[in-house]
Amino acid sequence: MDFNTKFTPHTWPDHPEQATMEGKNKVVGFWIFLACEVVLFASLFATYLALKNKGPAGMEFTTQSLFELPLAFAMTMLLLTSSLTSVYAIYHMRNFNFKAMQTWLGITVLLGLGFLGLEIYEFNHYVGLGFTFNQSAFSTSFYSLVGTHGFHVTLGLVWITTLMLRNAKRGLNLYNAPKFFVAALYWHFIDVVWVFIFTVVYLMGVIG
């Protein structure tokens, strides 16, 4: 199928993201990329678990003294909701409803920004307590794990925003549909990683 074909909701394919060879490659390739990201985060999680609460002799910071569940809960809610709104966006993408897709993507970005703001506040708060990146093995591994996730969130926000701006004037076609789709996949992945961070770092840190 040609990229320049103009579509109506009736002629729009059921799975526009995989209607072209390029799109199919992109989706398969992106799933494989995510598999590799899983291993990347697994390495960071393993390191964090090995170095949790470890520091120079007499270090007073522990997961119990540092982390607060209400903040982590609020961040979790923001990010989980943003995953839901990105599902709505892809639902509208498949129905050839460009405006609704853009709206839901916009909400996704706002929720993501909210999450990022809280994360920056949280890191800033810890640094204020003296829990800096260089303070201990615990702090280095914590900032590396959670910071890598935060970096992924930032990249995702830049990515989705760029896509929205770039395609604002021309609407949906078979060239950009796979791009929106994989960006949404990426956003879900970020969300799944956060679920593990919430469990392993915050829940197990405060309760376990």
Binding site: N25, V28, G29, A35
Partner: protein, 627 residues
């Protein structure tokens, strides 16, 4: 005359190679770059062997010896063996599955440039204050406190080139899953494509732990992190785990495509189909799977406890089973075949006993109690060189002979090839066979000299003579390659024994590979057609428009950005270089800017029309097309 058939000037040719996304040109670039680094690392090995030729030698200093052993190992594995195998994967995988290019031609180019500039960065260390000196494993307890910037070069160079390798691996997987020609089912794929697939999957899961390990080292050395600093609660064993979770699969990443190459050469010159094709596929997957279960056998002496050591010992021994399956299948392919002992076949015949020798010593080390004796001795050096030289380098040399006509439409000289084989092969055994005994006699690895009177002198002397012979062999090989420039065009299927799709394409191969997508009617499709007396492969489509990707300079720009950023990170810990952070930011800005540019600028590729195709083919093959 269309632009496709015009001759280009020098500048235009260079620009063409920088921007190309053609898998065949990238394969040639991988081949050249890999050969360059192979020569550098080989030269480093020769310097070390000359130093060890006699006891108490002072040919090179202890510090320089450490740099040499580190750079030899790192370069050979990451920057020589990997790109040379990528050269074959890039060239052959699309041709073997009947595709016009890889799934992501842009990423293919990006993978090459990241690898090349990362490798270049690492080698600049020699001229900028000293190379890394903590061994290719760069254990944190050594590397964290290594003075100077050597280790920083190692960390950043491998980070960049590793990203390139990862991207290329991902690309091969998608290519093999989605780009196969009609009829090319998974169980009809040539074995080399199978091994490329499994090896790429290993890259995908093995490189992220290395990335994280290197990131931690980068944080610790350049940004004040504490992952490995025990006074701050860190733990150096984390590096060892992460490194070997990567490092052991890396061995299989390299050796599986080598197995695949031999699985192409042996049936071709036994003129029989590969014995036990399905079991070969199964063994490949099993080796790939088990490859991830055995990393701690490199760490038996760390003290992980008897339970962990026992589990990893048994898992390691289990790998001998699928590997043994492969060896028997190769032997049974040769058995009863109509054998032609060409140079590639000679390499294959030399490979089998050499590799088995390396494998057997590997199973010996799998036994944890024995490993306590062998650990860090020359026995280990002998073992892994038997696997790597006996397995991978023979595969690279043999397939260079075998596939030279696919790469360059020229044949290598057979007589010189056979002389090269014997010089190299005898040199190889001379070098490493005696090292088994040196190890058993107690000579530790990574020492820059030794005292006389320990019974080591003679074996070390023999080993050095062997290394010099290997050096002569490599030079003969290079001469053979250069001589082929003057040779006659080889034409299609010059061995006459080609079995798979790549041999069915008329030479020189047009940039779109297949004028018409082939129809695959079974395992070894070209062999099937030749058996039926056909002069041409069966096609799946009439001649029509072909969609091809555009060239792009963006991969080069992205890689240059990373290259610049690496200098910024490198000098970040130096108090007298406050500008380093701006260099880092500028480099990253170039990289991300180029990525955003790529994202917002549409790139639909172009269509090659039927008339243009016919014109190109007339230009390449003369009037009347390739009939």
């Amino acid at each position: 005359m269309s632009s496709y058939t015009q001759k280009k000037g020098f500048g235009a040719t260079v620009w063409d190679y920088i921007t190309t996304v053609d898998h065949k040109k990238l394969a040639v670039m991988y081949l050249l770059a890999g050969t360059l680094f192979f020569a550098i690392a080989g030269f480093e090995a020769l310097l070390m062997r000359i130093q060890l030729m006699k006891p108490n030698n002072d040919f090179i200093s202890a510090g320089f010896f450490n740099e040499l052993l580190t750079m030899h190992g790192t370069t050979m594995l990451f920057l020589a063996a990997t790109p040379l195998l990528f050269a074959f994967m890039n060239m052959l995988v699309p041709l073997q599955i009947g595709a016009r290019d890889v799934a992501f031609p842009f990423l293919n180019s990006l993978g090459f440039w990241l690898f090349f500039l990362g490798a270049l960065f690492l080698h600049l260390s020699f001229f900028m204050g000293g190379a890394p000196d903590a061994g290719w494993t760069s254990y944190a307890s050594l590397s964290l406190y290594s003075p100077g910037h050597g280790i920083d070069f190692y960390v950043l160079g491998l980070q960049i080139s590793g990203a390139g390798t990862l991207i290329s691996g991902l690309n091969f997987i998608v290519t093999i899953i989605t780009m196969r020609a009609p009829g090319m089912t998974f169980m009809r794929m040539p074995l080399f494509t199978w091994t490329a697939l499994v090896s790429s999957a290993l890259i995908l899961f093995a490189f992220p732990p290395l990335t994280i390990g290197l990131l931690m080292m980068l944080f610790d050395r350049m940004f004040g992190g504490n992952f490995f600093d025990h006074t701050m609660g860190g733990n150096t064993i984390i590096w060892e785990h992460l490194f070997w979770i990567f490092g052991h699969p890396e061995v299989y990443i390299l050796v599986l495509p080598a197995f695949g190459l031999f699985s192409e050469i042996i049936p071709a010159f036994s003129r029989k189909r590969l014995f036990g094709y399905s079991s070969m596929v199964f063994a490949t997957i099993l080796i790939g799977f088990l490859g991830f279960m055995v990393w701690a056998h490199h760490m038996f002496t760390v003290g992980l406890g008897p339970t962990a050591n026992a589990i990893f010992a048994v898992a390691t021994m289990a790998i001998a089973v699928p590997t043994g399956m492969k060896v028997f299948n190769w032997i049974l392919t040769i058995w009863g075949g109509s054998i032609k002992v060409t140079t590639p076949m000679l390499y294959a015949l030399g490979f089998i006993p050499s590799f088995v020798a390396g494998g057997v010593t590997g199973v010996m080390q799998a036994s944890a109690p024995l490993d306590y004796q062998l650990h860090d001795s020359y026995f280990i050096v002998a073992h892994f060189h038997y696997v790597i030289v006996g397995g991978i380098v023979t595969a690279l040399f043999g397939s260079a002979h075998f596939y030279w006509p696919i790469f360059f439409n020229r044949m290598l000289n057979e007589t010189l090839g056979k002389i090269t084989f014997w010089v190299f092969f005898i040199g190889f055994h001379l070098t490493f066979f005696v090292q088994h005994f040196l190890g058993l006699m107690g000579m530790p690895r990574r020492v820059f000299t030794y005292m006389e009177g320990q019974g080591w002198d003679q074996f070390n002397y023999i080993s050095t003579i062997g290394a010099l012979m290997m050096g002569v062999g490599v030079i003969l090989m290079v001469i053979n390659c250069l001589m082929s420039i003057k040779g006659k065009p080889a034409g299609r299927d010059p061995w006459g024994d080609g079995r798979t799709l790549e041999w069915s394409i008329p030479q020189p191969i047009p940039f779109y590979n297949f004028r018409q997508t082939p129809l695959v009617r079974g395992l070894d499709p070209w062999w099937i057609e030749k058996q039926e007396g056909n002069k041409e492969i069966t096609f799946a489509e009439p001649v029509g428009d072909i969609h091809m990707p555009n060239n792009s300079a963006i991969p080069f720009v992205i890689s240059i950005g990373m290259f610049i950023a690496a200098f910024g990170a490198l000098y970040n810990p130096d108090a007298d270089k406050p500008w380093s952070i701006y260099v880092l930011i500028a480099g990253l800005a170039i990289t991300f800017g180029a990525m955003i540019f790529r994202s917002v600028k549409d790139d639909h590729g172009f269509h090659l029309h039927k008339e243009e195709i016919l014109e190109i083919e007339e230009h390449l093959y003369g009037k009347g097309g390739n009939k």
